[in-house]
């Protein structure tokens, strides 16, 4: 199997994630889509690492995972807190920063 296919898969996953972030309103789903984009990026990194024959890309992928884990913790905490106070997980309801 040609190694480019991994890159195509990565591009498809990233696009799905990006479209999801833009079109979905549920904060949890948006969040999941962001994770999808991050993992698509990870897949590209690992693939490029393989193509170049070095480990750099894989190392960065590990960093991304760690950061993504932290981000999940903080992001979910925020979503839960907003849900508690507003009884809504819709991100369009959290638009108070416009002024």
């Amino acid at each position: 199997m040609a190694i480019e296919n991994y890159l195509y898969l990565s591009a498809i996953l990233f696009t799905i994630g990006a479209v999801g972030v833009v079109v979905r309103r549920n904060a949890i789903v948006v969040f999941m889509c962001i994770e999808l984009m991050l993992n698509a990026a990870n897949l590209s990194l690992v693939t490029f690492s393989r193509i170049n024959g070095t480990l750099d890309g894989q190392v960065v992928a590990f960093f991304t995972m760690v950061v993504a884990a932290c981000e999940v913790v903080v992001g979910l905490a925020i979503i839960v807190t907003i849900y508690r106070s507003r009884r809504s997980a819709s991100i369009d309801d959290a638009s108070l920063l416009k002024r």
Partner: protein
């Protein structure tokens, strides 16, 4: 020739400067004794001056000038200016006049200003003036002179506006300062031209180059120096400030605006004789300015009812004589200085007399409200009268010698120039006799015109003693200075030899002509004011000439029409430009930022998804751009 060094010169300036600084710094603590300290320091400076004179007399003619280097002031590459003092035959005359008359006026002021709560400040300024004026005449370069020149301008400003709680007085001081600045600008230009073209600003340096430099350079320097002299000495066309300067206390008018500061222009021209001797056109201009001013001032003097303003007009006119003399070249320098010295005595004496009259008349200055004061103020009458005889030039009083010499030198200047200048000087003598007699008659000998609530009385001894001493000077100084051409020979080493001596008329005829003019002037004044009644209110139905003379020959109207109103129009136009163009640009930038901000604010909806969309589109555009560029 290396000059003798003398380390005592600095005390001449240091003593009054110390007085000024300490009186100003000590403030109210010095109120009780400040005037005594100031007077003592001024007298001390006079004593130093006398000592220097005695030393100078003891030396041979060529080694009489002495110098003292105080410190290196400017040292840039090959350009060096030391703060140095130079005392020669010319400066010693001024030093003794300034400190001598200055001390007398200090003494007079102790009494004259005794009721003023700010007497200490007054004396501090007087001392400051003495110090600055001494620096002016002792500086050995134009740059050192300039410091003193500005210093006396400052002191004059402070003293004219001494009673600045009155708005008119404050305005008068500002007027004097602003008009003086025009002259000061001339002096600074002269220094710049000298530096740029000759590379030196010291008197000896400029003198050395005077013959080698082109006549055009010397003419430029000469005209700039003349502008400086015209400003400081209230000569045409910068004469308008002197009349208003009478707002200052009378001793100030006597010291600064009669005897010393206003004669600084004459000093400058005589000191720069080498410049003017190398620039005949500039020299002729000096003489013409002097001749115009001597008539100009005399005409104003005939119409003034304010005793101080009449004397101020007379000062202007007499300085015109000196400037005329200084413009006649080597033949006239000594006589210009001689008239300056005798004028210092009699005009200061008359101003102090006017102050004494005002003191006895509740500060009334209108001569039409005087009259018959001879009986009430005999000492003032006698001292003022001696000054009067001196100024109109009756022999053997001082003015006769000095003014006669000037008229004679002007007549002998040769050709049409001599006849015109000499004729003007003769005419001026006649007008001088007329207006001074008018002052005498209106004040002292005509019937009384004052109210019964006035109680004229003679002034205390501290006031009349200086007047008496100055009156003695007015009587004797002309005779002493001209006996055997004493002053002429004394100053001779400083000036170039003058060539052939032409004589248009024999001296005795000139004297006769001058005395005839004086007699005519006196006779007209006697007929007009002594033998006929004088109104206590100035008559309104007078000829247009009188009206013009009362308005100072329209000097203020002309200045306002030519300079003040166009200047105001220019400034208000500039204000408009500032408001529309400069402020407009600044406000425009602000408004642009605000407008674009509020336009961009529309994109900030607060919806996370639209932000995400923007980021996505932005990233896509960025990648596309990179792709296009790298293809």
């Amino acid at each position: 020739m290396t000059m003798v060094t003398n380390n005592g010169l600095v005390y001449l300036i240091a003593l009054p400067l110390f007085g000024a600084v300490s009186l100003l710094l000590l403030g109210r603590r010095a109120d009780k004794w400040g005037h005594l300290l100031a007077t003592a320091l001024s007298a001390g400076s006079f004593a130093v001056g006398l000592f220097q004179l005695s030393e100078m007399l003891g030396r041979a003619t060529e080694s009489r000038p002495v110098t003292q280097k105080l410190f290196t002031w400017i040292s840039v590459g090959s350009f060096n200016v030391d703060a140095s003092l130079l005392l020669d035959q010319l400066s010693i005359c001024f030093v003794l006049l300034i400190t001598g008359v200055g001390t007398l006026i200090h003494i007079y002021s102790i009494s004259y200003m005794s009721h003023d709560p700010d007497r200490r400040r007054f004396f501090a300024y007087l001392n400051l003036f003495i110090a600055a004026m001494l620096l002016l005449v002792l500086g050995d370069s134009y740059l050192n002179l300039y410091v003193g020149w500005e210093g006396v301008g400052l002191a004059s400003y402070l003293l004219i506006g001494f009673w600045n709680q009155k708005a008119a007085y404050a305005t008068a001081s500002k007027k004097a300062f602003v008009m003086n600045r025009i002259g000061d600008m001339g002096l600074s230009f002269a220094i710049m031209i000298a530096f740029a073209s000759l590379g030196t600003v010291s008197f000896s340096g400029v003198e050395e180059y005077a013959h080698h430099a082109s006549e055009a350079t010397m003419t430029a320097i000469g005209i700039m120096l003349l502008i400086a002299a015209v400003g400081k000495s209230a000569q045409f066309p910068l004469q308008a400030w002197l009349g208003d300067a009478m707002a200052g206390p009378t001793p100030v008018s006597a010291l600064i605006h009669a005897a010393t500061m206003v004669t600084a222009g004459v000093y400058l021209i005589v000191r720069s004789n080498f410049v003017f001797d190398a620039a005949p056109n500039a020299q002729l201009l000096v003489a013409i300015i002097g001749a115009i001013t001597l008539i100009f001032g005399a005409l104003i003097g005939t119409a003034k009812d304010d005793i101080k303003k009449a004397l101020a007009a007379s000062t202007m006119s007499q300085i015109g004589y000196m400037i005329l003399g200084a413009g006649l070249g080597p033949a006239g320098y000594a006589f210009a200085i001689m008239h300056l010295l005798t004028h210092g005595f009699f005009k200061a004496g008359m101003f102090l007399g006017a102050g004494s009259v005002m003191h006895g008349m509740n500060d009334e200055v209108n001569m039409r409200k005087y009259g018959a004061l001879r009986k009430f103020m005999p000492i003032t009458f006698i001292t003022f009268g001696l000054g009067y005889l001196a100024i109109i030039g009756v022999p053997p009083f001082a003015g006769f010698y000095s003014k006669d010499m000037l008229i004679e030198t002007a007549l002998n200047a040769g050709g049409i120039k001599g006849i015109l200048l000499g004729g003007t000087a003769l005419l001026g003598a006649g007008i001088t006799a007329f207006y001074m007699t008018r002052v005498m008659i209106l004040t002292f000998t005509s019937p009384k015109r004052w109210d019964d609530n006035q109680h004229p009385h003679e002034s205390p001894i501290l006031m009349w003693l200086p007047m008496a001493i100055l009156a003695i000077g007015s009587v004797t100084s002309g005779f002493l200075l001209s006996r055997g051409d004493a002053l002429k020979h004394w100053l001779e080493p400083l000036f170039e030899e003058h060539g052939e001596h032409t004589e248009l008329l024999p001296p005795i005829v000139v004297s006769g002509l001058a005395l005839t003019m004086v007699a005519i002037g006196v006779a007209i004044a006697v007929v007009k004011y002594q033998l006929s009644d004088v109104d206590s209110i100035a008559p309104e139905d007078v000829s247009v000439f009188t009206r013009i003379a009362r308005r100072d020959l329209l000097q203020d109207d002309i200045n306002e029409a030519l300079f003040m109103r166009p200047g105001q129009a220019l400034t208000s136009a500039l204000v408009k430009v500032d408001e529309s163009v400069v402020d407009g640009a600044v406000r425009g930038i602000g408004q642009m930022a605000m407008g674009s901000g509020s336009a961009l604010r529309q994109t900030q909806t607060g919806f996370v998804r639209s932000y995400a969309m923007l980021i996505l589109v932005g990233a896509a555009v960025l990648i596309a751009a990179i792709w296009v560029v790298t293809q």
